[in-house]
């Protein structure tokens, strides 16, 4: 018989950034929880409306529309975030690139597009014009300029991690020290521990044949992000993967997933995307640049068989 828990859980969820957002904590005052919940929702709305490239009133939309024709003065937060993305572009050997977003757009709307067509969509010429290094930043004016008209910014690859870090700060501001915070269960950050253990145990399932957990990561004040291909991706996006390789100009469609555990939710998200498309050399160089707790790749051979490689755990240089 299971023991009934006397622990009061405080939990809410909402829709944000195209997926489901979940927040769970426990053992705090109900009034405090309501206050924090309200602040988190406001913060999610603020971040989404500011950084969505699709929202006509967003800052990113404004930059994308103006930054080739003129220098765009932006606010400090936006400027710093774009600069951070440029740093990650360099630290991941150009694998994490906020300028490739448009490349993923066209196939979203066409089930008829084949892998071959996807591969052919971006020309080598276009690829040579992309890259976060071609976003020119002027710190003295917090200004952004694009080096060519093919550039546009898509913060989708970092937005959830960024929001998770912001929410973590809200929690700490209110002395909430234990929490499980999730975007669509693919980007998760944690504070403290599960009420019945000394960490939050995150179980990874077989992506094509869900059942028992195939690997468990221990999170305590740390984050996990996963990038992967699965049946659902194929159904959703056509018979291909959904992560675009900025160097080859193709979509990665290998049946695999990459999960990264590290302290920062932002870096977990950046790395799960970068490592998913990295070759061996790129992976080693990239991991050398970061401090990660775990970097797991699950390769799926079939609906039943899989292998797990833990690239882990080089400490930050």
């Amino acid at each position: 018989m299971e023991a009934q828990s006397a622990i009061a859980i405080q939990y809410f969820h909402c829709s944000s950034m195209g997926t489901r957002f979940d927040f769970l904590t426990y053992g705090i005052d109900e009034e405090l929880f309501n206050t924090v919940q309200q602040q988190i929702k406001q913060e999610l709305e603020r971040i989404e409306s500011k950084f969505s490239r699709f929202a006509p009133h967003s800052e990113v939309y404004r930059i994308n529309n103006l930054a080739f024709s003129k220098e765009v003065i932006t606010d400090e937060e936006t400027f710093e975030l774009i600069n951070l993305c440029k740093i990650y572009y360099l630290k991941t050997n150009s694998l994490f690139d906020i300028t490739v977003g448009k490349k993923t757009e066209l196939p979203f709307h066409s089930q008829a597009i084949t892998i071959q067509e996807c591969s052919n969509t971006p020309s080598h010429f276009e690829n040579s014009l992309l890259g976060a290094d071609k976003i020119i930043t002027v710190p003295s004016k917090t200004a952004i300029r694009f080096a060519n008209p093919y550039l546009s910014i898509d913060l989708g690859g970092i937005g959830k991690g960024y929001a998770l870090e912001k929410i973590k700060n809200i929690c700490l501001q209110y002395q909430i020290t234990n929490a499980f915070i999730s975007f669509g269960e693919s980007s998760i950050t944690t504070l403290g521990r599960h009420p019945h253990g000394d960490h939050w145990p995150i179980g990874i399932q077989h992506a094509f044949n869900p059942g028992p957990t195939i690997y468990t990561c221990k999170l305590n004040n740390s984050s996990i992000s996963t990038s992967g291909n699965s049946l659902n991706n194929k159904t959703k996006f056509g018979d291909r993967g959904h992560i675009y390789h900025p160097k080859t100009g193709t979509f990665e469609n290998t049946p695999k997933s990459v999960s990264v555990v590290c302290q920062s939710a932002i870096e977990a998200e950046v790395l799960s995307t970068a490592l998913f498309i990295a070759n061996e050399d790129e992976r080693e160089k990239t991991l050398d640049q970061f401090s990660v707790n775990e970097a797991l790749q699950v390769n799926y051979d079939s609906f039943n068989n899989y292998t797990i490689i833990n690239y882990n755990t080089k400490v930050n240089p």
């Binding site: 299971e2 023991a3 009934q4 828990s5 622990i7 859980i9 939990y11 809410f12 969820h13 997926t19 489901r20 979940d22 769970l24 426990y26 009034e31 309501n34 919940q37 309200q38 499980f180 999730s182 669509g184 269960e185 693919s186 998760i188 599960h194 009420p195 019945h196 253990g197 939050w200 145990p201 995150i202 179980g203 990874i204 399932q205 077989h206 992506a207 094509f208 869900p210 059942g211 028992p212 957990t213 468990t216 996963t226 990038s227 992967g228 699965s230 049946l231 659902n232 991706n233 959703k236 997933s257 999960s259 699950v298």
Partner: protein, 423 residues
């Protein structure tokens, strides 16, 4: 509290604009939130309410009504109780803004009074309700509806004759979990529902403290057949109402038994009962209640060939369960003292096809206080000055079948509904 208010506003807005889909068919009384007139804040549309019976349940309503004075364009202008200490407490709750009455008939004489909320002992429900309706007042009466089926019918007939609202206080009719559950059931999520089970178990003597011994029958009226039918009217009536709502029909017969096997303290009502209601299609509603063990507590289980719902605890279980979202599994684990991995497949993209059945929540946002919401519904309806669709009928048939269940226990035979009581 603020979160509750936000949830309530969202809920009312959704109900009002007809955004509830199937719910509009299965819970038509929610339409009461949708009318502009119903939500009017104009001084001329202020609703003036009187409270009759301000003991424990009555003061619960009174506190809500006082909150609603700030938000819902109402005013509590009178409070009434024949027990002076309760009346004093009620006047204090209103900070002296409401006038106190020892005789409800004096309160009914107040010309500006639009409606009354009745929370007296059961045996008084019918007379006060009928007097209020005849005085031209709308009525919210606590459940169970009345002490006899004759009284129930007379209350309905009077309300119809006078064209006034008669709402019985079954607050689950306004509870999001139940509304969502009924929507799911109507959409076929549980498949064919063939049995409903419910129980309400307590382990106490159900007595209130007495200021002095001669007040025993007045204070502990629930224990005496002159005033109450005990477990059936005070507890079972809630679950009978829900069973009828779930199935969208009323029973055709009831059998039952009960006894006093533990609290042999002079009480006249059973301390344990068991009843089975049968519906025309063979569906059974099995209910029991006791007061000498509380391990299983309170629950209502809806059993279908595709799944099960436990309404009181907001849980739903599929016969062929999908993998619960990791977060729901986590909530469930914590509640049950389990330290287990939070299963993610790496993304929100995992096919939901697997294995263990720990259930899922029926309604994720259940913070709305249905006790208050039913009163908001009442004042909205009063402002519209027209009965709320099917709300009185829900209370009537619940009250009726509660009393027929008691009759089955008393007479030890299967009871059916006399045709003249069909409305």
């Amino acid at each position: 509290m603020q979160d509750q208010d936000n949830s309530r506003r969202d809920f009312i807005k959704a109900a009002g604009v007809g955004g509830l889909g199937l719910v509009a068919l299965s819970s038509p009384w929610l339409k009461v939130f949708g009318d502009n007139k119903a939500n009017s804040k104009a001084a001329s549309d202020k609703v003036r309410i009187g409270m009759i019976g301000v003991g424990s349940r009555g003061s619960y309503h009174l506190n809500y009504l006082k909150q609603m004075e700030q938000t819902d364009n109402i005013e509590v202008i009178g409070v009434c109780d024949n027990y002076q200490p309760h009346l004093n407490d009620a006047i204090n709750i209103t900070k002296g803004t409401a006038k106190g009455y020892l005789d409800y008939r004096k309160l009914l004489e107040v010309k500006d009074l639009d409606g009354v909320v009745i929370a007296t002992p059961l045996h008084m429900h019918a007379q006060i309700t009928i007097d209020a309706l005849k005085a031209g007042k709308h009525v919210f009466c606590e459940k169970a509806m009345a002490k006899t089926i004759e009284e129930c019918k007379l209350m309905v007939d009077t309300a119809r004759e006078k064209g006034k609202i008669l709402q019985i206080g079954h607050q689950r009719l306004f509870k999001p979990t139940y509304i969502k559950a009924i929507e799911y059931i109507r959409s076929g999520k549980l498949g064919k529902v063939t049995q409903i089970r419910a129980y309400w178990h307590r382990n106490n003597d159900w007595r209130r403290p007495l200021p002095s011994p001669e007040l025993e029958r007045q204070i502990n009226w629930r224990l005496y057949r002159e005033y109450s039918c005990g477990l059936m009217t005070e507890l079972a009536s809630h679950h009978i109402q829900v069973a009828n709502w779930v199935l969208g029909k009323t029973p055709v017969s009831v059998m039952g038994t009960g006894s006093i096997n533990y609290w042999k303290d002079g009480r006249e009502v059973e301390d344990n009962i068991a009843v089975i209601y049968s519906y025309a299609d063979g569906t059974q509603f099995v209910y029991d209640s006791m007061t000498s063990n509380k391990f299983y507590g309170l629950e209502q289980q809806i059993l279908g060939d595709k799944g099960t719902m436990e309404l009181e605890t907001n849980k739903m279980y599929s016969e062929n369960p999908p993998q619960p979202a990791g977060i729901l599994q986590l909530v469930n684990d914590i509640e049950h003292g389990i330290f287990d991995s939070i299963t993610v497949a790496g993304a929100s993209w995992v096919p939901e096809t697997a294995a263990k059945n720990k259930g899922e929540m029926i309604c994720l946002d259940d913070k709305i206080d249905e006790g208050k919401l039913q009163l908001i519904g009442l004042v909205n309806a009063i402002r519209q000055n027209k009965p709320v669709p099917q709300l009185m009928e829900q209370g009537y048939y619940s009250g009726l079948w509660t009393l027929l269940g008691q009759q089955a226990i008393d007479e030890k035979r299967i009871i059916t509904l006399p045709k003249e009581y069909i409305i």
